[in-house]
C-alpha cells in the first residue's frame, strides 16, 4: 500500500467505524434488540479475531510457515489461561519469539 492509499484507508476506515457507532445512538432501541442480530454480531467478532490469530501466527505472504511465532502463541495461550493481563500476555509472546530467534530459530 502506498502512503496515499494507506491514508485514504485510515480515514475511510475511521469514518466507517464512527458511522456505525453513531447509527447505534440514533436507531430506535428495538431495531437492534433482536437476539439473532446481537448473536451474529458477536460471532462475527469471534470469527474475525480467530482468523486474524491464525493468519498472524503462520502466514507469510501467501505461504504458511511454522516459525517462532507458534511457540510464542502457545505461551500466550497459557498466560491467558492463567488470567494474565493483556499487556503481560503480549510481552511474554514477544519475548518468547525474540528469545527463540536469538537462539537461531527462524
Amino acid at each position: 500500500m502506498s502512503p496515499t492509499v494507506t491514508w485514504v484507508a485510515v480515514l475511510v476506515g475511521a469514518a466507517v467505524v464512527f458511522a456505525i457507532k453513531l447509527v447505534g445512538h440514533l436507531v430506535p432501541e428495538h431495531w437492534l434488540a433482536e437476539p439473532r442480530v446481537a448473536r451474529t454480531a458477536s460471532l462475527v467478532t469471534v470469527a474475525l479475531l480467530s482468523a486474524l490469530v491464525a493468519v498472524q501466527a503462520v502466514a507469510q505472504g501467501q505461504a504458511l510457515v511454522a516459525d517462532a511465532r507458534l511457540p510464542a502463541l502457545a505461551v500466550a495461550a497459557v498466560a491467558l489461561a492463567l488470567r494474565a493481563p493483556f499487556v503481560v500476555v503480549v510481552v511474554l509472546a514477544a519475548a518468547t519469539a525474540a528469545g527463540l530467534r536469538a537462539l537461531g530459530m527462524s
Binding site: I20, R39, L52, Q62, T96
Partner: protein, 248 residues
C-alpha cells in the same frame, strides 16, 4: 444528590479510572505494532484518535501488515466495529445526550465505556461511569499509542523483538474472553471454522480476503443456527459486556 447517590457515583468513577489505565496501557502494543506494520506515526495516531476502537485498529494494521488491500483493511475494521453499533441502543437512553454531545458520546462508545456505564444504577452513576471511562480510555489510549509508536520506530526490524508474534498474541487475548461468555459453544465452533477457513484459503486468495471469508461464515451461522437456549450467564443486560474491563 443523596449520600447513596454520591457513593454510587464515586464507585463508578473509581472503576472508570482503573479500567482506563488497564486499557490505555496496551495502546503501547498498538502503537508499536502499527509502525511495525508499515504505518507512519501520523497514520498510527489518526487511527487511535479517529477510529478509536481497539479491535478495529488491530485488525486494520493486521491486514496492512499481511499485504492486504485498502478495501480489505477497511472492511475488516468496519465489521469488527459492528458491535459498537449494538452498544448505542443500550447507552443512549442512559445518557440522554443531545446536540453536540451525541456524536461525542457515539465516538466514546466502546466495549469499556459501555461495560462500566451499564454496570452502575441508571442515573448519575451510569452517566459518570460512561463518560469517565470513555474520556479516560480515549486520553490514555492515545498517549500510550504515541509512546508505543515512537518506541517501535526506534527499534528497527520488528521480528527481532518478536513483534509479529505479539500481534498474534494480541488477537488471541482479544478473542479469549468471548470463547467463554454467552453462546460459548457456538463461539468456539465458529472460531475453529474461521481458523480452518482462513488458513485453507491463505495460499489461494489475496491477503485480507481469508479473514473476510471467516466473517461471512459467522454471519451465515449466526442467522441460520437455531436460537437454542444455551446455558448462559447474565445475558439479559446487553449484547456483549461479558468482557471484564481492560479488554477491547
Amino acid at each position: 444528590m443523596t449520600d447513596a447517590e454520591r457513593d454510587e457515583v464515586r464507585a463508578a468513577v473509581r472503576q472508570a479510572v482503573s479500567v482506563s489505565f488497564a486499557t490505555g496501557l496496551y495502546g503501547v502494543s498498538f502503537g508499536a505494532l502499527s509502525v511495525a506494520a508499515g504505518l507512519d506515526l501520523a497514520q498510527t495516531m489518526a487511527l487511535s484518535l479517529l477510529m478509536f476502537s481497539g479491535g478495529s485498529q488491530f485488525a486494520f494494521i493486521g491486514v496492512v501488515a499481511s499485504g492486504g488491500t485498502a478495501t480489505a483493511a477497511v472492511a475488516t475494521a468496519g465489521l469488527l466495529g459492528v458491535r459498537n453499533g449494538l452498544y448505542g441502543p443500550q447507552v443512549a437512553p442512559l445518557l440522554g445526550a443531545h446536540g453536540w454531545r451525541r456524536p461525542l458520546a457515539a465516538q466514546l462508545t466502546i466495549d469499556e465505556s459501555t461495560a462500566v456505564g451499564t454496570a452502575h444504577p441508571p442515573g448519575r452513576a451510569a452517566r459518570a461511569g460512561f463518560w469517565w471511562t470513555g474520556v479516560g480510555v480515549f486520553v490514555l489510549w492515545n498517549l500510550f499509542t504515541l509512546g508505543g509508536a515512537l518506541l517501535g520506530d526506534a527499534l528497527g526490524d520488528p521480528r527481532r523483538y518478536g513483534l509479529d508474534a505479539a500481534a498474534a498474541a494480541a488477537f488471541l487475548a482479544l478473542v479469549w474472553p468471548r470463547l467463554s461468555g454467552p453462546h460459548a459453544r457456538l463461539a468456539r465452533l465458529v472460531g475453529g471454522a474461521a481458523v480452518v477457513a482462513a488458513l485453507a484459503t491463505t495460499p489461494v486468495l489475496p491477503a485480507g480476503v481469508p479473514v473476510l471469508l471467516a466473517a461471512a461464515i459467522a454471519i451465515v451461522v449466526g442467522m441460520l443456527a437455531p436460537a437454542a437456549p444455551e446455558p448462559h450467564r447474565d445475558e439479559a443486560r446487553s449484547a456483549d459486556p461479558a468482557d471484564e474491563g481492560g479488554r477491547r
